[in-house]
C-alpha cells in the first residue's frame, strides 16, 4: 500500500518533469520524442553592469536583451551600486550576487561616443576580453542598434566560443510585401520588392542577394534582388508558369527552385555562377516536387514530394539522383509534411508536419533520423534556422494572433516577435548581410 502510494507520488512528479520543457498539449505521433530536454543550472550567470549616462543605458538595454535572448546565460539584474566608472568592477559584491560573468560598458574620456566593452570573469577576478566600439549617434537608429548587436555577438563568442546571432535579420512576408525585422523584434522595416504578392524570400549565404517568387503581369518568376544596389532581375527560364520556393546553395553557385505547369511541379537547378544551364532534378507527371533545401556542403537537397499521395519529405543528391525518404511516414496516416530547411551546421533538418490536422514544427537529426516535435500549441509552420543552428523562427497562431516566434532548441524557451503580426514565410539571414554592412 505504502509502496503503491510512493509509486503514485513518483509518477505524479515524473510526468510534470517530463513535460517541463514541452510546448505540446496535443498527443504526439508514436515514436516521436516531444519537446526539449534541458537541465537548468548549467549556464553561466551574467550581469551587464549599470552605467551612468542615458546613451550608455540605451546601449546597455539592447545589449542585455541580446545576451538574454542568446539563451546562453542566466541574466542577473545587478543593483546600481555595482556600476563601473573606471578601473575594475567590484568583484566581491558581484560574486556575492552569484555572478559568473560581468559585462561592463566603459566610456572613453578621450574619444566621445567611443566605449570600451569588457567581459570580466568574476570568480577569478580578472578581465577576460575587451573591445572598443564607436557608437553611432542616435540611440534609436538602425546603425546604433546594429553596433550594439555586434558587440553582443562578440561577447557571446568570448564566453562560449561561438558567435551570437543578434546582428542578423529576418525577412518575412506580410500583406504580400517583404519586411525585415531584427531577431529582438525591433527594427521592423519594409523591403521594397517586385510583385504583389512577393512570396518565399530566401537568402544567399553572403547576405547580399535575396530570391523570391514575384506575382507580376507576365507570370510568377523567381526574382533575384541585390540588397546593396536594389537591382532586380528575373531568373532566366522562370518567365512562364509557376516558379516557387527558391533556395541558394551555400557556395552561391546554384539556385534550386520548383517550376509548376500543366504537367506538375518539379525541381530545377540554375547555375548562377555561369548565368546559364537549367538542370531538371525531378520528373513527375501530375504530382509535385517543391521546397528544395540544400545541405550546407552542397551535396544533397531535401525536398517535398507528393509522389506517395500527400506531401512528404525526401532527400536526393544535388544532381537529382538517389532520391529517398528523409522523414519516415505511414502511408495515409502521417500528416502532410512541408517547408524543410537544412540547419547551417548540417546536422538537422527542420520542417512542419500536420499532427491531428494542425501543422507543428519538427526537427530531424539527419544522421540518426530521429524526429523531435518542437511545438504543440496552435498552428506552427514554416520554420527557419538561425545561423547558430540552435534557434528557429517560425509562424505561430498561439495566443490567437498569427506572428513570428523564436524558439531556442536547447532550453525550449519561446518568445514572440510582437511587431510581426500577420507575418509569414520567414527566412533568417546568415550572420553577415548587406544590412549589417550599411553605414
Amino acid at each position: 500500500m505504502r509502496r503503491a502510494a510512493l509509486l503514485t507520488a513518483a509518477l505524479a512528479l515524473a510526468v510534470p518533469l517530463a513535460l517541463l520543457a514541452q510546448d505540446s498539449t496535443g498527443a504526439p505521433p508514436s515514436g516521436v520524442r516531444v519537446g526539449i530536454t534541458y537541465t537548468p543550472g548549467t549556464r553561466a550567470s551574467l550581469a551587464v553592469l549599470p552605467v551612468v549616462s542615458s546613451v550608455l543605458d540605451s546601449a546597455r538595454t539592447i545589449l542585455a536583451r541580446d545576451l538574454d535572448e542568446s539563451d546562453q546565460f542566466d541574466l542577473l539584474q545587478p543593483p546600481a551600486t555595482v556600476a563601473l566608472r573606471s578601473g575594475s568592477p567590484n568583484y566581491a559584491a558581484l560574486s556575492a550576487l552569484g555572478t559568473d560573468l560581468a559585462v561592463a560598458i566603459v566610456p572613453d574620456s578621450a574619444v566621445p561616443s567611443t566605449v570600451a566593452v569588457e567581459l570580466h570573469d568574476v570568480p577569478r577576478g580578472v578581465l577576460r576580453s575587451r573591445t572598443r566600439v564607436a557608437l553611432p549617434r542616435g540611440t534609436g537608429t538602425e546603425a546604433f542598434r546594429e553596433a550594439v548587436h555586434r558587440v553582443a555577438d562578440e561577447i557571446v563568442q568570448w564566453a562560449t566560443g561561438s558567435r551570437g546571432i543578434a546582428a542578423t535579420t529576418l525577412l518575412f512576408v506580410s500583406g504580400g510585401h517583404l519586411w525585415r525585422v531584427d531577431p529582438d523584434g525591433a527594427g521592423l522595416l519594409p523591403v521594397p520588392s517586385a510583385g504583389l504578392p512577393a512570396l518565399s524570400p530566401a537568402w544567399s549565404s553572403d547576405g547580399r542577394t535575396i530570391a523570391y517568387t514575384a506575382y507580376v503581369r507576365s507570370g510568377q518568376p523567381i526574382v533575384l534582388q541585390d540588397l546593396a544596389t536594389g537591382h532586380r532581375e528575373a531568373l532566366a527560364g522562370t518567365e512562364y508558369g509557376l516558379n516557387i520556393t527558391p533556395a541558394f546553395s551555400r557556395d552561391g553557385r546554384y539556385l534550386a527552385f520548383a517550376h509548376g505547369d500543366e504537367n506538375g511541379t518539379d525541381l530545377y537547378r540554375y547555375d548562377l555562377a555561369r548565368h546559364c544551364c537549367l538542370t531538371r532534378l525531378t520528373t513527375g507527371t501530375y504530382y509535385d516536387n517543391l521546397s528544395p533545401a540544400w545541405s550546407p556542403d552542397g551535396q544533397r537537397i531535401a525536398f517535398i514530394s507528393t509522389r506517395a499521395g500527400s506531401p512528404q519529405l525526401y532527400v536526393m543528391s544535388a544532381d537529382g539522383t538517389g532520391q529517398e525518404v528523409l522523414a519516415s511516414f505511414d502511408f495515409g496516416r502521417t500528416g502532410q509534411t512541408n517547408a524543410p530547411e537544412w540547419s547551417p551546421d548540417g546536422q538537422a533538418v527542420t520542417f512542419h508536419r500536420e499532427v491531428a490536422g494542425t501543422p507543428q514544427v519538427f526537427v530531424e537529426d539527419v544522421a540518426s533520423k530521429t524526429l523531435r516535435q518542437i511545438t504543440g500549441e496552435g498552428r506552427n509552420e514554416d520554420p527557419t534556422w538561425a545561423p547558430d543552428s540552435r534557434h528557429l523562427a517560425f509562424v505561430s497562431s498561439r495566443g490567437g494572433i498569427s506572428r513570428l516566434w523564436v524558439v531556442d532548441l536547447v532550453t525550449g524557451r519561446m518568445r514572440a516577435l510582437a511587431a510581426t503580426v500577420g507575418g509569414r514565410l520567414p527566412a533568417w539571414s546568415p550572420r553577415r548581410t548587406f544590412f549589417s554592412e550599411a553605414p
Binding site: 540611440t139 509535385d288 507528393t306 502532410q336 517547408a339
Partner: protein, 222 residues
C-alpha cells in the same frame, strides 16, 4: 497550335536545358517612393517609440507594441488592396475596367462559373466536367476569346504546397478543355495557393468555397 509555356516547348531538352539568355521579363515596379517612405516612416516611428522605452517598461509594453504592429499590418493590407493586382492582368477597357470580350452577360456568367475540388485533390467531378463542357462550347463559339484559369486552395494546407496544388487544379481544367478541342494557346493558368480566399471564414463551408478554379476572359472575344 502555339504553346507559349517553355516547359511544354521542350520538356525533354530541359533535362539538361541550356538557357543562357540574359534575363529580360518585365517586373512590376516597386512600390512608389511615397508608399515606401510612408511605410518606412511609420515603421521607423514605431521602432523609435519602442526603443525609447526602458528595459523594464519594454517587457510591459507588449500591448502597445501589438497596437503598433497591428496598425502597421492594417496599413500594409490597405496598401496591398489599393494596388491593383498585377498578375496576368487582362487587357482592360480603361473606361469600365472590364475586358473587351464581346460576350453577353449570360456568356460572361457561364465563363466565370467556378469549379470546386475535394480537400487536397485536383480531380474534376462530373459536375465540374459539365461546366467545362459548356465553357469549351463558349470558346468554340468565340474563336478569338482567350481565358485565364486561376487555381485556389483552402486555408488549411501549407503556404507553398498550396501554390503547387492550385497549379494542379488549374492544370486539370486546362487539360480537360484541351482534350475537348480548345487550343492550349488560348488558355493561361496560374495558381494563387491560399493567397486569395473568397470566403475568409473557417469551417468546411468556407474551405469548400475556396478550393476552386476561377475563370476569366484574358482578351479577344467574338
Amino acid at each position: 497550335m502555339t504553346i507559349r509555356r517553355w516547359s511544354v516547348v521542350a520538356p525533354a531538352a530541359l533535362l539538361v536545358a541550356v538557357s543562357c539568355r540574359a534575363p529580360v521579363p518585365a517586373i512590376a515596379p516597386a512600390p512608389t517612393a511615397a508608399e515606401s517612405q510612408a511605410a518606412a516612416d511609420s515603421a521607423a516611428a514605431a521602432s523609435l517609440r519602442r526603443d525609447s522605452l526602458g528595459a523594464a517598461a519594454r517587457r510591459d509594453s507588449l500591448a502597445a507594441a501589438q497596437a503598433d504592429s497591428l496598425r502597421l499590418a492594417a496599413q500594409t493590407e490597405a496598401r496591398a488592396e489599393s494596388v491593383q493586382f498585377q498578375v496576368g492582368r487582362p487587357t482592360t477597357d480603361t473606361a469600365t475596367g472590364a475586358v473587351a470580350t464581346g460576350l453577353s452577360a449570360a456568356e460572361t456568367a457561364l465563363l466565370g462559373d467556378r469549379i470546386h475540388f475535394a480537400f487536397d485533390r485536383s480531380a474534376l467531378s462530373a459536375e465540374d466536367q459539365a461546366k467545362l463542357d459548356r465553357k469549351a462550347q463558349l470558346l468554340a463559339a468565340h474563336p478569338g476569346l482567350r481565358i485565364r484559369i486561376a487555381g485556389n486552395c483552402d486555408a488549411r494546407g501549407s503556404e507553398e504546397y498550396n501554390l503547387a496544388l492550385g497549379e494542379r487544379r488549374a492544370a486539370a481544367a486546362l487539360r480537360y478543355l484541351v482534350a475537348h478541342g480548345v487550343a492550349a494557346s488560348r488558355v493561361d493558368i496560374l495558381s494563387y495557393g491560399k493567397e486569395r480566399p473568397i470566403d475568409r471564414g473557417h469551417g468546411e463551408a468556407a474551405w469548400a468555397a475556396n478550393r476552386r478554379d476561377d475563370f476569366a476572359a484574358a482578351g479577344g472575344g467574338r
